[in-house]
Amino acid sequence: MLANLRVQTSLKALLLLGLGFFLFTRLTGGTLYFYISERFGWLTVVAALGLFLLGISYRTGRRNEEAEAVAGCEHDHADGDAGHDHAIGWGGLLIVALPILFGLLIPPRPLGSTALAAREMNVSSVPSALPAAVQGATAKADTERSVLDWVLDFQASGTDGENFAGRSADVMGFVHREADDPADAFWLTRYVVGCCVVDAMPVGLRVVWPDAPALEADSWVRVEGQLAENVSAAAPWLEAQSIVVVPPPNQPYLYP
């Protein structure tokens, strides 16, 4: 009983340290923002430190636990441990270890075009009701704008596209193709994340480029070109003049 308790206690301490270490690897590996919004980065630092602290506290606490178990307080601890607070069971320990296992065994990757299968890319699904975001977007110079800024502006100014024809854009995103896209077109896509990847919403600019078939889905590209009025769809599209494949950024998502 005592030995079992001691093993469990050590494992719990190890698990807390392990979870802290897992968060630490995301922080140092620069991959934290594959999962959550930049805004909450500091919370992860707090959590990693807190988990280390809790893990270490088991060292000092263990002596008390043993003293207590030996002395046996009035209520019987050896009673099958039914519902006892301190025992979470081997299955429980294994479940809590899953984030560490998944996190350390599977190389981190941001959401890509596969996740779009369960989401809809839609200009109107962008939180355009945020007046501050729209103002921020329209105040930026054309070549400074992100995909999100352009999409917000399209939506705010009525999407007939006349105001946009001929303006130059310099944007980055990953390549995504819808099933009905023509061969020379793709969507330059970014995810907009408010909190974490759970609420990720895709936004995209339609790019036309003769060499588009050579670009692999999910590869990150920087597109320079000019906006053109789109006769068939509501939002303008981007006629590319140059497309450069770039490494995926450390902050793959945009924040509203």
């Binding site: 209520h75 979470i88 909190c195």
Partner: protein
């Protein structure tokens, strides 16, 4: 020595919910694993059966990557909040004694429930942090209605969430509707549960602690350092205990997000009644933290009714996949079912009423 008498009852009787002795924790876990693990395995096997071509294999591994990213995203986002809740809970365990807490809580049932709804203003926690704190308060003999009202209201009635809702919607009917309905529903459900006895609702381990007069270990200790060490260790236990449910919940939510297309759900949901149910279902499935769900709700304002938005913002923070799993660490399974259904029914009622009375 009351426990042996309880656990001496045979486990295999027809309805374990009726007997006062619930299954031990280990068996409960086994059952939970079977209940959730087997369907997941079945789905995986089904998917694996279809992997014949390299493209299909590519497709499945891509899906799995997406699943892992979303799962870890929810976990990394929620872990700090759960940790803070656990630390608060650990310190309550060691530093707050039962007698003082009893003096502070109102005895009159209506007042007790009302006090619970406002407690979030003192403990600003979201739906992950609130669970360990509530459990600890129950251990300390907290009234049932106060605890339930706190559990349901605190994820909305706290400064952080009110501020984020204000940032998204401004001082409008949505903000006031969210606050008002959350208060009302938490209060109502708290009162309803007050009618039941604690031993019908809570897990046996928790009940034991609740009736157990001496506070665990703390009384043996003198000295602030030792007390803080104990509080931290209790916090660690609490965190791991709740993290089990958080992990299973985040995996389920991530699987839903990976496999069920959102637009299929959204395409169904028009009209003053159906739209409410669709957005409430979405709130349950997505399990987004209450501190940011207002921004998500913004995306639906153009396509959904006002009542549906209010239903999303009221029901989501109270109950979703991960929080309802975490409730299993406090309540019996049957209680958890009521704790999902009652807020669901009330939120749906008010949200549909909103569409007809306030307009869409």
């Amino acid at each position: 020595m009351y426990t042996p008498a309880k656990s001496a009852l045979p486990e295999a009787l027809p309805d374990p919910e009726i007997i006062s002795a619930p299954p031990t924790r280990k068996q409960g876990w086994l059952r939970l694993l079977l209940r959730w693990g087997l369907p997941v395995l079945a789905v995986l096997a089904l998917l694996a059966g279809n992997i014949s071509s390299p493209q299909a294999r590519f497709f499945v591994t891509e899906r799995f990557q997406t699943f892992v990213t979303i799962f870890l995203g929810i976990f990394i986002e929620a872990a700090p909040f759960l940790l803070i809740g656990s630390i608060v809970s650990g310190f309550i365990d060691v530093f707050v004694d039962r007698e003082r807490l009893e003096k502070l809580t109102p005895r009159q049932p209506l007042l007790a429930a009302l006090a619970g709804t406002g407690l979030g203003l003192i403990f600003p926690v979201c739906e992950c942090g609130v669970v360990p704190v509530t459990r600890r308060l129950y251990e300390k003999g907290f009234p049932i209605s106060t605890g339930i009202a706190f559990l349901l209201a605190a994820p909305v009635i706290n400064p952080v969430v009110i501020a984020s809702t204000w940032a998204a919607f401004g001082w409008g009917p949505i903000l006031w509707g969210r606050i008002g309905l959350s208060l009302l529903i938490a209060f109502g459900v708290g009162i309803i549960f007050q009618l039941a006895k604690p031993d019908e609702l809570l897990l046996s381990g928790l009940l034991e602690q609740r009736t157990h007069q001496h506070s665990h270990g703390a009384s043996h200790l003198t000295g602030l350092g030792a007390k803080i060490a104990l509080a931290l260790r209790q916090a660690g236990d609490d965190f791991l205990d709740m993290a089990r449910y958080l992990v299973v919940g985040s995996m389920l939510a991530a699987a839903m997000q990976t496999l069920v297309p959102q637009n299929a759900l959204l395409a169904v949901g028009q009209g003053p009644v159906l739209s409410v149910f669709v957005l409430m279902a979405l709130a349950f499935v997505l399990s987004v933290c209450s501190t940011v769900d207002a921004f998500l709700a913004l995306a639906f304002t153009s396509t959904f009714t006002g009542g549906a938005i209010v239903g999303f913002l009221t029901f989501g923070p109270m109950v979703d996949i991960k929080s309802s799993l975490m409730f299993l660490g406090i309540f019996r399974r049957r209680t958890v079912v009521y704790l999902i259904l009652l807020p669901f029914a009330l939120s749906a009622l008010f949200a549909v009423g909103w569409n007809f009375l306030v307009g869409v």
